[in-house]
């Protein structure tokens, strides 16, 4: 049933391209962090980290080719974490 997913094999060059993108994003985030943009700095850093982690999840961890069950549960976990962070900040900001 899941053979379609199992047999999907990325090519080495595609993986190397992902690594290149990840290192490129790392240099961008380091350079941007040296420019004072005020509050924006931390948001840009977190945004770039989120983009980098999606690349790792999708290609290195094969999430793109995984079954629906795994994909939905990953999104669910990130959703739970977002809820946790959201509620805690809701609390903190009204103290």
């Amino acid at each position: 049933m899941d053979d379609g997913h199992q047999n999907h094999v990325l090519s080495y060059s595609k993986l190397a391209l992902v690594l290149g993108i990840l290192i490129g994003l790392t240099s961008i985030t380091v350079i941007v962090s040296r420019i004072d943009l005020g509050v924006l700095n931390i948001w840009i850093a977190i945004m770039i980290a989120a983009i980098k982690s999606s690349f790792v999840l999708l290609f290195f961890m094969h999430l793109k080719y995984e079954s629906k069950l795994v994909r939905i549960s990953v999104v669910g976990t990130i959703g739970c974490l977002t809820m946790l962070i959201g509620f805690i900040f809701w609390d903190i900001s009204f103290r």
Partner: protein, 219 residues
């Protein structure tokens, strides 16, 4: 031959029954899902740590920024590149095993293990410098600097320490996979151990992707 024998000795049905082979099938999907479930608990573990960091950041913003400046940005960047590269070599090793190229897989895994150890060595040097500069939980410098700085470096040691422990576990898992490939227990048909060790390693990389900006890049 069996048929001829059965004709002469015992009834055919009996013979066939004794020859029946129980086919075992591996639930590949289940093996992977189990690993993912474990990874979710890890995400929540580090997620909780990050929430703690964020909550204290909003309260002691200036102390956190001062603390971030003390950390070695280049060491952090170097370790980021090392971990990203090791993630690539692990992913490539899994691909090599799927293509039955055992030698390539072994070389790639050996490089990954080396990268993991290199990361730990850098971390050791980095922590060593901090200890020399009298920056560690409970040190007199931090006591004098105030609660915000103590909080920042406390979180720094706990989070990078816990992450370092994960690197040690990850390197161990990769080494076990390396030996299993050598023994022929991991091959193109069965590579769940390698695949799950790889998933673990990528998660450790994923967590570092967030640790790096939170500690090294804040301005």
């Amino acid at each position: 031959m069996i048929l001829r024998k059965s004709r002469t000795n015992a009834p055919l049905s009996l013979k066939v029954q004794s020859k029946a082979v129980v086919k075992t099938s591996i639930d590949k999907q289940g093996v992977k899902l189990g690993m993912w479930l474990f990874l979710y608990t890890e995400i929540m573990l580090f997620g909780g740590m990050f929430v703690l960091y964020a909550a204290y950041y909003t309260r002691y913003t200036s102390d956190f920024i001062e603390g971030g400046k003390i950390l070695d940005l280049w060491m952090g960047t170097l370790n980021t590149v090392i971990l990203l590269s090791s993630s690539f070599t692990v992913a490539a090793a899994i691909m090599a095993i799927r293509r039955s190229s055992k030698k390539t897989a072994l070389v790639l895994l050996a490089i990954s293990i080396f990268f993991g150890l290199l990361f730990l060595f850098n971390k050791y040097v980095e922590w060593g410098h901090k200890f020399e500069a009298d920056i560690y939980p409970g040190s007199s410098t931090l006591e004098a600097a105030g609660y915000g700085s103590s909080m920042f470096f406390g979180l720094y040691y706990v989070i990078t320490g816990l992450h370092g422990l994960h690197i040690v576990i990850g390197v161990t898992l990769l080494s076990i996979s390396f030996v299993f490939i050598l023994m022929g227990r991991i091959h193109a048909e069965r590579f769940a151990i390698l695949e799950n060790s790889g998933l673990y390693w990528h998660l450790v990389d994923l967590i570092w992707i967030f640790i790096f900006p939170l500690f090294y890049l804040i301005l």
